[in-house]
């Protein structure tokens, strides 16, 4: 930055100009972005903050936030957190293994680019089509359900499984969770230098020792950071759950839309407070993500 600015304020130029230049208008370059973000991201969210602190008549209250701590709503948050945690861990772990397999596992190089493009689609294949695909596959008469029952003699629904329950939702979410992991963790795996492995081997380390003492510690910030992102990703998902369960699963995003849509339970201000609770949880996870991200960036330089 200083380099680029230097010639402009070089000594010897007429005195009026350097002063004006130093009082730079350069920040104007990012105004369009800030303006846009303010209008369509920050202002609407801010509206929610206000709304969550008002009652239906528009007077200030903390009542909405107090309501968040009623057992039923706490249960809703708990469900969301559980689903997000499970899918972040499972999706994160499997996504990492998969990414490692195609990058450093000695598989043909073409599989890598195939997996990457596929993950790009699958990580965004959420919502209605995804829910439908799983209904046709793991629903009560889904293809895979029937296959398990008739060919392998495993009756999953008889054993208590349901696609429309928490576990079902988790399986569905994994479909976009682990591809997202593959996409985000791939650069970190690429950043593991071959030299590190060779240096470790050269000093007598076994493969296990290399992983324990070198590779995993180096990857850990990226791994945890990406899993946090997965957590947020599944926490905020709504369309998939809505389509799959018809809105009858008790998670935060569904609860919000129920409060705001004006069905039986209509209390938009409570909806705002629910949303705020969610924003806070997500903000904590994103803060954790960027913290870890910064750390791993320094290492992988």
């Amino acid at each position: 930055m200083t380099n680029a600015a230097l010639p402009l304020s070089a000594p010897g130029t007429p005195s009026a100009r350097p002063v004006r230049r130093r009082f730079s208008w350069g920040w104007l370059g990012i105004v369009p972005f800030l303006l846009f973000a303010f209008l369509f991201l920050i202002a609407p969210t801010f509206y929610l903050v206000i709304g969550s602190l008002q009652n239906a008549k528009g007077t200030f209250t903390l009542e909405n936030f107090a309501q968040l701590f009623t057992p039923s709503i706490l249960q809703t948050y708990e469900n969301s957190i559980e689903i997000s945690l499970v899918t972040a861990l499972a999706g994160g772990l499997f996504g990492f293994l998969l990414a490692y397999a195609v990058i450093s596992g000695g598989l043909p190089g073409i599989l890598r680019s195939a997996l990457m493009t596929f993950s790009g689609v699958a990580s965004n294949f959420a919502g209605v089509p995804l829910a439908l695909a799983f209904v046709f596959t793991l629903g009560r008469v889904g293809l895979f359900t029937i296959f398990l029952r008739d060919v392998l003699n495993i009756d999953i629904y008889g054993a208590g499984f349901s696609l429309y329950s928490k576990i079902g939702l988790e399986i569905v979410y994994l479909y976009f969770q682990f591809p997202l992991m593959v996409l985000i963790i791939a650069p970190a795996i690429d950043g593991l230098k071959k030299d590190w492995r060779e240096a470790a081997e050269n000093m007598g380390a076994s493969s296990f020792q290399y992983w324990r003492r070198v590779a995993l510690p180096i990857l850990m910030p990226s791994l945890l950071g990406t899993m946090i992102l997965l957590f947020g990703n599944s926490f905020g998902a709504q369309a998939t759950a809505y389509q799959l369960t018809g809105g009858f699963i008790d998670i935060v995003t569904i609860a919000i839309s129920r409060q705001m849509r004006g069905d039986v339970l209509y209390d938009p201000n409570l909806g705002y407070a629910l949303a705020m609770g969610m924003v806070i949880i997500m903000a904590i996870s994103i803060a954790g993500y960027s913290l870890l991200q910064r750390r791993s960036e320094r290492w992988l330089k």
């Binding site: 680029a4 973000a37 709504q238 705002y272 997500m282 994103i286």
Partner: protein
């Protein structure tokens, strides 16, 4: 690489592939059960709403990409060049859409823009514009990351100074020097955005827009085969778009090589 390890990695890969493809195969198999054969597909192709909602979503996607590029590229460039100390703030803002899920965003938008004096949602055009604006916001995390990584890979300081010394103005620098050099990353951000927009359900539903995903949800239980066919087609279209990135991206990389050296 030891043989056993190789086999293990193959196994991981195969499990991943099965997870990817079994649901797609299940959907395909179901959609093909319609009688007469392929009637589900002919039905959706003849459904005017299929064509209209899908083209609506694609147009929305393309507009989103254009606006997003126009906003993000100069910002990312400018921040890298002159205001590196602002990067964490910009990065934080672009990550916000991850924090604020669509369901929250859309209610905030409706509340802000449905009352006088900003009653944008009263008109068709206004609602469409609001939809695109919301999608641009959703694209921020992907677009900014992609462009920023692209800029990191090239030496923008030297490129900028070199172009300045040759007499280029800012518009020309951005358009003819920076943009072509981050084309690959831009493309990947763009198509990811397209994939998101085509599949987006929540915002389109609450803004009551005739987009593809709400239509897909509405086809409903009355026409299960068509629904399956539609789900598959939407996946196929997104997939085709991604393959296009890969191909275009490869083309541009070799071109860059030629221009640089």
């Amino acid at each position: 690489m030891r043989y056993a390890a190789r086999v293990a990695w193959w196994l991981v890969f195969i499990v991943g592939v099965l997870y990817f493809f079994i649901p797609l195969y299940g959907t395909l198999a179901f959609s093909l059960k319609s009688k007469p054969f392929l009637s589900a597909y002919t039905a959706i192709l003849n459904d005017p709403q299929f064509v209209s909602t899908l083209s609506y979503s694609f147009v929305a996607g393309i507009l989103t990409i254009i606006v997003s590029i126009l906003i993000i590229v100069p910002t990312a460039f400018w921040v890298r060049l002159k205001y590196p100390q602002l990067r964490p703030i910009i990065e934080f803002i672009t990550l916000l859409p991850f924090v604020i899920p669509p369901i929250i965003l859309v209610f905030g938008l409706i509340n802000t823009y449905s009352k006088q004096p900003l009653a944008v949602t009263n008109t068709e055009t206004g609602s469409n514009a609001l939809l695109v604006a919301a999608y641009v916001v959703l694209s921020f995390p992907y677009m900014y990351r992609a462009v920023d990584t692209g800029l990191r890979a090239i030496d923008i300081h030297s490129l900028t100074e070199a172009s300045q010394s040759l007499g280029a103005g800012w518009i020309r620098i951005l358009w003819q020097v920076i943009l072509p050099n981050v084309r690959t990353s831009l493309l990947s951000g763009a198509f990811l955005t397209l994939a998101i927009v085509v599949g987006e359900f929540t915002i389109a539903t609450f803004l009551d827009r005739p987009a593809f995903a709400p239509f897909l949800g509405l086809v409903g239980d009355s026409k299960p085969y068509e629904q399956a066919a539609l789900a598959l087609v939407s996946f196929g279209i997104t997939w085709a778009a991604m393959v296009l990135i890969a191909v275009l991206g490869r083309g541009s990389r070799s071109r860059i090589k030629v221009t640089i050296g």
